[in-house]
């Protein structure tokens, strides 16, 4: 509303000076306008082009930029901005360039291209940078076709006098070449040799080098032997501290970096710890804390300096110092550290409180003997002030501990019971109540939890009351004790008349289902013990959801949004395999790790919120396959080409009950070619159980832009599993193209390109279950011995248990239960428990016993599954591989 009156004010004030304040207000407000409001304001702002006053014009640019997303028809200012780009006021030129590139579309860009190219080589640094940054914006918003033709100008800008321009030029040049590995490598190499003058550009260079290193490193090579690593080491001694820091961080982030390679980086960070500027100390301790989470030993040399930081006036630094020390310190320093944290826990922000909780959780796992002290700390923390995320982290920590340290269960539950007595977050209360319902009945004294649950029933809002009803009912469903059932019945009686429908329905449902009515009404005789057992079994069966809840949610959402309700939703058709997601796209994932705010592998408690995309999203959105529904499994993308080739191809294998769909993602790295009608020819003659094929080609494959093509292969029989090698050839028609103008020849010619074979193995057909069993033992017993296959093997090529364990897991593609994938280095024997779901939904479990003998590793394997054929197939795959 305020905006509408502002707009009137804008239109009314013709006087330039008076207009500034409402405009500033408009930009600064930050609240969202409706498209209509935004359009009105926008057009009013365009009228201000009549004034030629620099300060006002600057505001006009700002306003247009802010409104560009919401307002319609912003293209109307194109002419005015073009005029400003050609003016002789440098401020106009720079700002108009940025705004114009923001509002323009891919077609319009061509009309302004010549101005942008001129600006890139302009003497004025502000103008040159504006054009360079706009070029980056164009590429990032898919309007960048023209930008790829500016290589000469941008290269020239690399030598600009201004460090800022060098920096922007390098960033743009990299973006232009990013899909061409060889070109990137050349660029980085020449920059490393000549040395960038600007520290900012050097920082970029460090990031590019780190990226190349992590992509090119192969097993067995050391970073030390790779030429680019020398550049990073050299940067550790740079005169600018941002470059030194960046190099240290880059080295720390290299995958599998060795302690020796890491050491100089840690020394640099250690020196930063005692610097006077807080930002430098913060950066250093943050990176050290990240290193400590995976390689605590590498950081112990800094312990003394970090101890000092505990009393740093900056609380963020102090917190990071403590959480790092918790990882690197010895067991006997824990109690002292905990005391120190307690002193300032109330002074730090929730974000850091969460970090501390994560660190404590990790400590509990590492030093189970200390769990009591640590848990008391968590209990105190629960009583502290703090937001939802903080409390949630604590509750999650308790849940994690209960699973890992069974003897802590009772303490955990009693802490959580105290917690819900005074908890303002309904979501957490319901979670704890659910947990009490699940675990409480099996604890030595179930009765003591009932009081806590009942309190919720009389004190809380409807959502929590409903959860409390279910939790109470679960005691009646699990317990054989008549007196306990009777108390539950009586406690539930008042909920039968609850004002809320959900609460009442649940109370009525459970009372009837579990035969509790007799106690509530006193009219009928209570059921006898046998009948009770039957009722209980029946209720538990009925409550059972036959698939993982996240899968159910995804499928229900899809069903509802499809708008087609001819067939009812079928829960039994929902896949039991875990949904496979991957980082957004490869490119953005890389950008994330390069430029993003990666706080290290703190993900254990689900606090990381990286954007994940559904691997099956594209295939389900393809019209040809949308009727197939969700695939049983989508395998992570696999490269079918070497890295530096003319064309690169990746494949995502999607498995369905009756089909296999191969989703090929191809990239053309030649800027002088346009490919059309691209498809992959797949030879299935070596693979059994595959029949007819449908091909969906990619209509065009332009330079640097990934495109998808599909091959859908029918499966002939459900129990004939597709295993073997698929030979793949990429076929297409090529049109030669002039890289500078982007014009392609009229006529193309047919060509083909050989890709690596695609192997479909047992692991391809095996998916991770959506939910891991909470206890392997009970799930194993539930599966039963009907389709059991047992066999023993000598794994001759292995001389350690851990390599044998890894090999078996890789071969079967199954997931370890109860943490049995952690192998003690010196162990002479090990038991590995695995679970998995085999296409199209066959549950499989494995009990594998490894014993180290003098020459090799002996394996005793017991396999259970829902289908005998599957058990045999899997057992054979191990003997076949040996």
């Amino acid at each position: 509303m305020a905006m509408v009156s502002d707009e009137r004010a804008l239109a009314k004030y013709k006087d330039e000076d008076m207009i500034m304040s409402p405009l500033l207000y408009l930009v600064g407000q930050g609240d969202r306008l409706t498209p209509e409001e935004a359009t009105e304001v926008f057009f009013s702002v365009t009228k201000l082009f009549q004034a030629n006053q620099p300060s006002l014009r600057r505001l006009v640019y700002l306003a247009i930029k802010e409104l560009a997303h919401t307002a319609e028809e912003v293209i109307i200012v194109t002419n005015c901005l073009t005029k400003d780009i050609n003016s002789d006021v440098d401020m106009y030129r720079a700002n108009a360039t940025r705004v114009l590139c923001k509002i323009t579309d891919a077609q319009m860009v061509q009309q302004i291209e010549r101005y942008l190219k001129q600006e890139i080589v302009d003497k004025n640094p502000v103008v040159a940078s504006a054009a360079l940054v706009s070029g980056q914006q164009l590429i990032m918003h898919n309007k960048g076709d023209v930008v790829r033709r500016w290589v000469n100008e941008v290269t020239q800008a690399l030598d600009h006098k201004s460090p800022m321009v060098q920096y922007h030029a390098l960033a743009l040049l990299y973006l232009i070449k990013q899909h061409d590995r060889l070109a990137v490598s050349k660029l980085v190499q020449s920059m490393c040799q000549q040395g960038a003058r600007s520290p900012m550009a050097t920082v970029l260079l460090v990031r590019y080098v780190a990226r190349i290193l992590s992509e090119e490193v192969t097993e067995g090579t050391e970073y030390k032997d790779m030429p680019f690593f020398g550049f990073l080491e050299h940067c550790l001694r740079h005169r600018s501290d941002i470059v030194m820091y960046e190099a240290a961080r880059a080295i720390a982030l290299l995958p599998n970096v060795s302690p020796a390679e890491l050491q100089p980086a840690v020394s640099v960070l250690q020196r930063f710890l005692v610097q006077s500027r807080p930002a430098v100390r913060f950066a250093a301790i943050r990176t050290l804390s990240m290193i400590a989470s995976s390689m605590p030993l590498a950081v112990t040399s800094c312990n003394a300096d970090m101890e000092v930081l505990i009393s740093d006036p900056n609380r963020s630094i102090a917190t990071l110092a403590i959480t790092t020390l918790l990882r690197t310190g010895s067991e006997n320093s824990i109690e002292r550290l905990l005391k120190q944290i307690q002193n300032f826990l109330c002074e730090i922000s929730d974000e850091f409180k969460v970090k501390i909780v994560v660190a404590i959780h990790a400590l509990c796992i590492k030093y189970p003997s200390k769990y009591y002290a640590l848990m008391n700390f968590l209990g105190n923390a629960l009583r502290e002030e703090g937001g939802y995320e903080f409390k949630r982290a604590i509750v999650e920590a308790y849940l994690g501990l209960m699973n890992k340290i069974p003897e802590s269960k009772e303490t955990c539950l009693s802490h959580l019971c105290e917690f819900i007595e005074d908890c303002e977050h309904a979501q957490l209360s319901t979670r704890v109540l659910h947990l009490l319902g699940k675990e409480g009945p099996h604890m030595p004294e179930p009765g003591k939890y009932i009081r806590y649950i009942y309190n919720r029933l009389i004190l809380e809002n409807a959502v929590v009351r409903a959860a409390a009803v279910s939790a109470l009912a679960s005691f009646a469903a699990e317990s054989a004790s008549e007196s306990l059932r009777k108390s539950v019945a009586i406690l539930l009686r008042q909920s039968l008349m609850d004002s809320d429908d959900e609460v009442r329905d649940r109370a009525v449902f459970f009372s009837q289902k579990l035969g509790l009515e007799a106690y509530q009404k006193k009219a009928t005789a209570p059921p006898g013990p046998e009948e009770v057992a039957e009722l209980q079994e029946d209720t538990k069966q009925g409550m059972n959801i036959p698939c993982p809840v996240p899968n159910l949610e995804v499928e229900l959402t899809r069903y509802l949004s499809s708008g087609i309700f001819d067939t009812p939703f079928d829960m039994t058709k929902v896949s039991k395999a875990a949904l496979v997601t991957s980082k957004d796209s490869e490119v953005s994932a890389r950008n994330e790790s390069l430029f993003g705010d990666s706080t290290g592998p703190d993900a254990g408690l689900g606090v990381s919120a990286k954007a994940q995309v559904d691997l099956a999203e594209e295939v389900m959105a393809t019209p040809e396959f949308s009727s197939f529904g969700r695939p049983f499994k989508s395998c992570p993308p696999k490269d079918l080409t070497e890295a530096e080739t003319e064309y690169t191809a990746k494949v995502i294998v999607h498995l369905y009950e009756a089909h296999v769909i191969l989703e090929f993602i191809c990239v053309n790295t030649l800027n002088d070619q346009l490919l059309e009608d691209v498809f992959i020819q797949v030879d299935t003659s070596d693979v059994s159980g595959l029949g007819g094929m449908t091909i969906v080609p990619a209509p065009r494959l332009a330079y640097g832009e990934p495109s998808r093509s599909y091959v859908c292969i029918d499966r002939t029989e459900v129990d004939e599993y597709p295993l073997g090698q698929l030979a793949c050839t990429m076929k297409f028609s090529v049109k030669d193209m002039d890289p500078t103008t982007g014009e392609a020849d009229e006529e193309g010619y047919e060509d083909e390109y050989g890709l690596d074979d695609l192997e479909l193995d047992v692991a391809t057909l095996m998916a991770k279950p959506g939910e891991l069993p909470s206890s392997f033992k009970s799930a194993w017993e539930a599966l039963g011995p009907d389709n059991e296959v047992a066999d023993s093997f000598m794994l001759e090529q292995h001389d350690s248990i851990s390599s044998a364990v890894t090999a078996v897991m890789d071969l079967l593609g199954m997931t370890a239960c109860d943490g049995t994938d952690n192998v003690n280095d010196r162990a002479r024997g090990h038991i590995l428990l695995l679970t998995g779901v085999f296409v199209p939904g066959v549950q499989v479990m494995v009990h594998a016993k490894f014993v180290l003998t003098s020459e090799c590793v002996a394996l005793e394997l017991v396999l259970r599954s829902e289908l005998h054929a599957v058990s045999e197939l899997l057992a054979n795959s191990i003997s076949g591989s040996d």
């Binding site: 082009f49 009549q50 028809e73 002419n79 005015c80």
Partner: protein, 227 residues
């Protein structure tokens, strides 16, 4: 020579103390000559660039204490829906037509009628300029123009029309004169009529310019007369 014309007009304008600023909107299909006309008025030069206006072009001419603001709008179809936004509250609307582009007469007529039927524009005086009279075959006859573009059917506006050539500067003086007369509603036609200065005519281009007023149903003012 052209700046001489300006000089005279400005001097006259400065004498009218209430007439310090006027705001115009120039409409018409693409390629009619709008931008050319605006440039001619503001710089005195005919520039032949063929870059179509993407969006709008704002010209503000300031001479002495007088300001003339011209909103020259792009003629492409995608911009026509936005014309109205730049017409509200202006002193006059100028509609430029390419008098030799027969194929698009119909479109021009429809667009003209459409924009003038908007309530927000009611009462704003309109000047229709049939430009490019220098081209062979250009429609120059005022009655023919009035008929072709249905100018008598327009209500709620005072409509005037001239045949002009921006290239040869034919009837630019009367155009300016008309603009001055309509620059403000306070200006009376009789005062304005007095300033026409025949000496400013380009005598080489002796095409007798005609002008007529169409459908001045609500106006009591006398239409501009033949110069």
């Amino acid at each position: 020579m052209f700046s001489q014309l300006w000089q005279n007009i400005l001097e006259w304008l400065q004498n009218l103390f209430f007439q310090q600023e006027m705001e115009l909107t120039i409409l018409g299909l693409q390629n009619a000559g709008k931008t050319t006309l605006v440039n001619l008025i503001s710089t005195g030069d005919f520039t032949d660039d063929r870059i179509p206006t993407v969006g709008f072009n704002m010209r503000r001419v300031q001479k002495g204490g007088v300001t003339l603001k011209m909103w020259d709008l792009g003629g492409q179809a995608r911009f026509r829906t936005m014309w109205e936004r730049y017409c509200r509250g202006v002193s006059a609307v100028v509609f430029v037509i390419d008098a030799a582009d027969y194929d698009r007469f119909d479109t021009a007529r429809l667009e003209l009628q459409d924009i003038l039927s908007r309530r927000a524009l009611d009462g704003i005086p309109v000047l229709v300029l049939a430009n490019k009279s220098d081209l062979p075959g250009a429609v120059k006859d005022i009655d023919e123009i009035i008929n072709t573009f249905g100018l008598t059917e327009i209500n709620n506006h005072e409509v005037s029309v001239y045949s002009i050539s921006a290239k040869n500067r034919v009837n630019i003086d009367v155009t300016l004169q008309w603009l001055i007369d309509h620059g403000s509603k306070k200006t009376s036609a009789s005062t304005a009529a007095a300033v026409v200065n025949p000496a400013l005519h380009n005598s080489q281009q002796s095409t007798p310019a005609q002008s007529a007023s169409a459908a001045p149903t609500t106006s009591t003012e006398t239409p501009p007369s033949t110069s």
